[in-house]
């Protein structure tokens, strides 16, 4: 800088500064364009938030939300849902012994049956879920512990599973298929539902296991290695099953080759990790047979459980849920209530604003006068 040279002007005497205007090196001598944009005069909408201007919005929101909320609430209430906990924590619970004995290493299956009664018939298709509580499928390390390439049937990924699968990547140098903690902890209870007739006979309720997984998962994301020809051949030998599994992946559903291996729908459903520690996963679908008879008539039922999955160690719970669904999914009154609440609050605040407006805000009209 040239601050050092103070030879320049002093007001009273005799400046030795200099004449003229800016050196051309600095001044860009151009008259600015007179455009709305450059002069910051773009046409604009200038809302002013005052009680007067805002209160219609509140009333409108209130008036829209409350009916929606009522509609949602009614819809949700029309959904029938039945839930039964079969963990077997209590002594008198039928599965108590199974629960006590169950562990991952246990190879002998333990079965128990739970009886329940449906008060109301379930009319439309019924979805059968298993529900787990206190099961942190969203744990960070758990969520990561999978290899999507392997599940997609990638040959190389089969041989060399991703590092993310550690420590469920290899056993004794042999790669695990499917690798990772999620697969390792696959839910392996078997649930069967029987309807008890009025004469006491058990009729198995037909459970459909197709279509419980996302279509894209089943057909795009998950693929068996080497096509679906011979799974046993494809998997055998080079791979080991996950440590907690009792049977290898190619025997998950021997009955149906379309539902075996990585594309086993139960497996796929499990692999979609739940968002919250209490969750349910679709297990089977009970399809409506005819329009005249309800899918599940009211009455007594028995749930037969092959109890393999240990949850007591982490204080978990296992449930079986039967539910019909509507356009908005399963039974959940929350959203309806939320809409009603928010709508009511809006309406209430609207009233408050109206009072404020009339008490204090007439001046604002002066601002509204325009146009």
């Amino acid at each position: 800088m040239m601050a050092s040279s103070y030879n320049a002007k002093e007001e009273d005497g005799h400046p030795s500064g200099a004449s003229g205007h800016g050196g051309p090196g600095v001044v860009k001598s151009k008259k600015p364009d007179n455009t709305a944009f450059k002069q910051q005069r773009l046409p604009a909408w200038q809302p002013i938030l005052t009680a007067g201007t805002v209160l219609p919005a509140f009333f409108v929101i209130g008036l829209i939300f409350i009916p929606i909320g009522i509609g949602l609430f009614v819809t949700s209430n029309n959904i029938k849902e039945f839930e039964i906990d079969y963990t077997g924590v209590d002594m008198d619970s039928p599965c108590y012994t199974c629960a006590k004995n169950s562990s991952w290493n246990n190879t002998t299956p333990c079965t128990c049956s739970v009886d329940f009664t449906l008060e109301q018939p379930f009319e439309s298709n019924v979805f059968m879920y298993y529900g787990l509580s206190n099961f942190y499928q969203n744990h960070r390390r758990y969520v990561k512990s999978r290899d999507d390439s392997q599940l997609n049937g990638g040959r190389s990924a089969l041989m060399e599973p991703s590092k993310e699968c550690e420590p469920y990547r290899k056993t004794d140098g042999v790669p695990i298929a499917p690798c990772g903690a999620i697969a390792n902890s696959l839910f392996n209870d078997t649930l069967e539902l029987f309807h008890i007739d009025s004469n006491g006979s058990r009729n198995a309720v037909p459970l459909v296991k197709k279509g419980i997984a996302w279509w894209t998962d089943k057909h795009v994301k998950f693929r068996n290695p080497g096509g679906n020809n011979n799974l046993t051949l494809a998997f055998q030998g080079d791979f080991s099953k996950p440590v907690n599994w009792r049977k290898p992946v190619y025997e998950l559903d021997p009955s149906d080759p379309e539902n075996n291996g990585f594309i086993n729908e139960d497996f796929i459903v499990w692999m979609r990790t739940a968002a919250l520690p209490t969750f349910r996963k679709l297990y089977r679908i009970i399809q409506k047979k005819s329009s005249t008879t309800p899918t599940l008539p009211s009455g007594k039922y028995t749930l037969d459980i092959t109890y393999n999955y240990p949850v007591l160690s982490f204080d978990g719970r296992k449930r079986m849920i039967l539910s019909t669904i509507s356009w908005m999914g399963g039974k959940n009154p929350f959203l309806g209530i939320a809409y009603i609440t928010v709508g009511s609050i809006c309406f209430f605040l609207g009233v408050v604003l109206l009072i404020i407006h009339y008490k204090y805000d007439t001046r604002n009209n002066s601002a509204d006068i325009p146009n």
Binding site: Q46, D147, V220, R272, F314
Partner: protein, 1504 residues
Amino acid sequence: MARRSSEDTGTVKAPESRRQRKKRSKENKTRTVHANLLYDAANKGEENPNRHYANNKIKTTKYTVLSFLPKNLFEQFHRFANVYFVFIALLNFVPVVNAFQPELALAPVVFILSVTAIKDLWEDYRRHRSDKEINHMDCLVFSRAERRYVEKYWKEVRVGDFIRLRCNEILPADVLLLSSSDPDRLCHIETATLDGETNLKQRQVVRSFFDLDCEFDPLKYNSIIECEKPNNDLNRFRGYIIHRSGRRDALYKENLLLRGCTIRNTEEAVGIVIYAGHETKAMLNNNGPRYKRSKLERQMNVDVFWCVVILLVLCLFAAIGHGLWMFQYGDKRPVFDVLSPEGTDLSPIMSAIYLFLTMIIVFQVLIPISLFVSIEIVKICQVYFIHQDMDLYDEETDSHLQCRALNITEDLGQMQYIFSDKTGTLTENKMVFRRCTVAGVEYSHDANAKRLAMYQEMDSEEEECTSHGGTLPRRDSVTSHQSARVVLRSQSTKSHRRTGSRAEAKRASILSKHTAFSSPMEKDITPDPKLLDKVNDCSSQMDFMRFHSQPMSQLPSDLSDTIDFFIALTICNTVVVSSPNQPRHKVRMRFELKSPVKTIEDFIKRFTPSRLTSGSNSSSSSSLITNRSSNKGCSSLLSSPSAESTLTKLHEERSCGGLENAFSPVPPSYDGKASWNIEEGELRYEAESPDEAALVYAARAYKCSLVGRLPDQVTVELPHLGKLSFELLHTLGFDSTRKRMSVVVRHPLTDQITVYTKGADSVIMDLIKPPNTGNSKGKRQKKIVCRTQNYLNLYAADGLRTLCIAKKILSQEEYACWLQRHLEAETAIQGREQLLFESALRLETNLQLLGATGIEDRLQDGVPETIASLRKAGLQIWVLTGDKQETAVNIAYACKLLDPEEEILTLNADSQEACALLLEESLHYIQAKFLCSSADQTTKAFHSSFAPFDLHPSSSLSSSSSHAAPFLVHRLGLVIDGRTLAYALDKSLEDKFLAVARSCRSVLCCRSTPLQKSMVVKLVRNKLKVMTLAIGDGANDVSMIQVADVGVGISGQEGMQAVMASDFALPRFRYLQKLLLVHGHWCYSRLANMILYFFYKNAMFVALIFWFQFYCGFSGSAMIDQWYLIFFNLMFSAFPQLITGTLDKDVSAETLQHLPQLYVNGQNSEEYKPYMFWMNMIDAFYQSLMCFFIPYFAYADSDMDLFTWGTPITTLALFTILLHLGIETKTWTWMNWLSIAFSIALFFTVALCYNASCPTCYSPSNPYWTMQRLLQDPLFYLLCIITPVAALLPRYFYRACQGTLFPSPVQVGRQLDKLPADTRRNILSLTRVKVGSPLSPKPPFLSLSKASPKGCNKNDQRSISGSKTLEATQGQADEEEDRSCLSGPTDSEMHLSDLYTLVPSEIDTLPYTKDAPQPAGELQPPSTEVSECLDKTLEPSDVSLSSWITSTPLLTPADSVQLNLLPDGAPQCVRYSRNSEDRLKPDHAVHPAHRTEQEVEQLLHTKL
């Protein structure tokens, strides 16, 4: 354009040469330059001693292709934030703690770094291009091989080369002038690119080459030059040249031509290159733009720190939570708690520690990575818009505002103190000679005054004409210049952007203006007839005496004084005369093309030819009388006058007769003298300062014209006597410590050695020889001194700048004696400046006073208005000037800085103790008078209970400052002079001084030195902790500009030094108003809101993940896909806030300018107070709770998977964040809509593409087809509707309530904006009138009420008060009501809340706010009159307006002062009473309208 500084130069050179240079620099401290010719060619100059010096190739780029990446990264890592983000990204590579895919986590930081890198690269590339252009400019270099000058590129020029320069060429390097085609061995250069000074400077050929008869031949040159090492001092060059003979000659800066300057008026010059390339002074002087940190950014950094704290707290919380969660499972390891990759089990504590780090990664978004980049982008846009503002464009100088500092725009909105220079800043710095006193006789120059008044009228008329779009011929010519310039510019902008300015560009810019300081107003002085007679008389006598060879000393002393006075005016300066030889016929032709010229002034103005087009010699016009040798004998012979000059003389004499009416712009006898006038007009003076020019022009009006100036001779033309040549023996230049300049000449008529001194009256008066009262001469002298002093005081009281002229006659012996010591001083190498200074002091003693001049410095347009509105904006304005006290005070009155209403404290002390005492006393005085703290308290209590929404700028100001004591600003002015200031700035007194100064409304420091100016600014800034702005135009303001938070330079008449030191450069002072009030306000509020929004946005987003930790065992899991998480800030939510941050206008420019009170908003940092950060945080947490828990409950216990659940949350958060911005956006242009639409569209597009792209990638979320599925889910839409509504409900409601119940002034301004245009204009224009009206320091009350269709119900009246004080301008009808208000506050509550009090700056600046309210009746102004007056004012503009504007009942909270003024200042409506003061001085009620001047003066001189 960052420039390399000296340290960088080293890196350019090869390492080898650097090493050698190092060695060399150890060896000696000088540079030795040999001619390259001796060592040329063959061995590539292996033994050339010059080879180590930098060559002339410049390279201002920072990077090379190879060094770019490492160097740029290194530079970027200087920013702490970048290091932090890189650290976090690297943390991701540690497997135990990683949260994201490591590569992905690098993305944001890489993005940020690369954006910056690309910006740097682009800048560097532009530098490279312009370097290349400059390096490839041509110049003539002597080549040994060809034995002639050959064209070479600039970059090929080397130290030791001989260069031939032609007229209008730009110097490629620093060159020692060895030869010039000028007969006087001069070379004129223009240094505009270095210091912006456009006047010509003379440079001399080195003395030893002075007498060279034939042309300089480089081949014969074999001297060696020794000079200083390259340095950046433009005004210093020392060294000597050693000839083969062993003779040494000293070299001065007068011998050096600097790179970047332009050769003018000299056909050819030859020189040897001394410094080249980066070692040239010009390059060494180039510093990059300045980087300051704005207040807002400092505040922001505090909150960034709080964000870090919040981050750590959240992480700690999560870590502890995780530890506990682990602990509860004990040894029973649940199946979902995955072992570490090694298969080992982690203890809860260890995993908590790891988790802590993981959480830092997950929550990193809390520290807004994009904030820094966004702020930079927004600021660049803001600067762009400020640049583009037409209102800040000055047609006259064709310049507009420059933002030189890019990063402190928002500081403009937060200023609290303005420190202004006076001359050139408040005033035009167009010096106009007004009056003078010679030998004790005053010549008032009344005609001159009339003429000046007429110019003013003409100016305004002209303005009107042009504003009506008239195509005046003159404008045509201007525009043609402009277009020419545009063409020229387009081909040269790049190069002259830097040192290598181009002749064309310069020429173009000069073409459009006239010579500096030579507007007709300054040039054409109408002489005072009496004085003119005297001059004529005197010179004819002298002529007679000379003719009869009588000694001049017989001349009557008053006559000789008169003629000496004018000679002194003419020669005691450094004015250069130039007379470009523009071909006459060409001028004629152009002249005829245009419309007829009405006046000579007009003619000259139009056709003043540029000196650029001139041929060669400045002194080569008809009046080249002499050469040096011929008048050495000092014979007073008149050089034989040519026929032409006789003719000229004749003309002159003829015109003398018509001079009485010459002040008329149309000279009666015009046609006959046209050619003479042209010729005369072509003699142009180029002065370094406007006062010099003014005096020279004044002398010319008396026919004493300066016709030529050579280094050792000045030629003056006197009436009757013709041309006289004064041998110029010495010029003792002006400096600010001596405050005077002198010339020593040999008088051609008397042959005496005479010293003429011109300087500030204070110094000259002290140097006057004490008159010997014994004889009559002495008595006369005494009388002259006495009278002159009186007139000086008078001049000063008129606001004129005064200069004293004195002379001294030296005997030969005295002179010889002095000369010897002076020569010693001149040749001294050590401490030469000091010795010269002392030498000058020795000479300037015992002077004889000749007279004094009064020069008027007119106020710039709009200065009083600007000051008034800035003051209304709550800014404290201090004027720091070097002028003398009286002048300064008068200018201060003229520009409304001081108010006749105010009392003025004047501090003049002679010693430290006296100063201490004075300060003490004034402090007591102020306290006694104004600060009864207890009463103050009650007022405050009253205030707060009654008008809770009132604003108190000054009180909040003081509370925001560190000092606890509540300082009120009083209606007091403080005037302090330089000497006292020096004492007051002493450590021991500065606190007291500040205490006094801050309680005064205006402070005026006179006679202050540049250093004092900066000390004052520093003191106020550091002690009061306020934001300071310094504005000035000259080099003496540079230090002040640099010290202040924001420095503003006026790119006016005084060169560019102030501009170059400034952050913003304005063409005129009045632009400061819009710059601060509008752009400052906008920039501040935009940026403040944007920063707050950023914090909110990031906190809100991060909090979502935090809530989730409660449901995932504090495992650091995130339900939001990491891609969304990382790009959310960078992409999805980035654009709208940038648009809003750039374009949002809370209040329109018009309203902001008319209601300066709104500026307080920024001063008090009301858009961004510390609590607002926390409010935003709380709101963010609330909103994130909504966004998290509504989906949580909606999907509770469902088969929703983690990321299918997280995606809606992301979407909701995006909607909420955008809508939040919507609530905060004040103006919605299509850009806002577009950006929001774009953001949403971008999110969904990216999400859909991303979710469709790869079924197996993006572990762990693997979101294949998630979004597609969600879009089929009605629940998703339901969530999208309810969540943002629920989340934003409180804020929306709060904003609505705030807008109604307690709107900020800004909101009121917004409402004003919404009024129909004409109504608003009327209201604003009312305010406007007040601003300008001299008699109303307070704006009259302005109220706005609804003219509801139902009619104007009194009770429904709401008002916007234009004046902040709750003044009682009540209609009679309201009287009752008002009284009831006073009696029962509860009744009035409703009323009070209706009051939209806009910034009570004035009442708070008043000291009278302490009394309890008085009965309203007592205070009632004649209300009928008031309303009458109101109606009167309104009627002309809009009849219906009276229905809009009604006087409204208002409660006066601190109603001891009632000042009701109307726009017109109608006196009968004015009632002004100061109750508190009444008690002190019962008779002190003042009626300003009736105030006599005496009273004013009385107040003025209230000294302590």
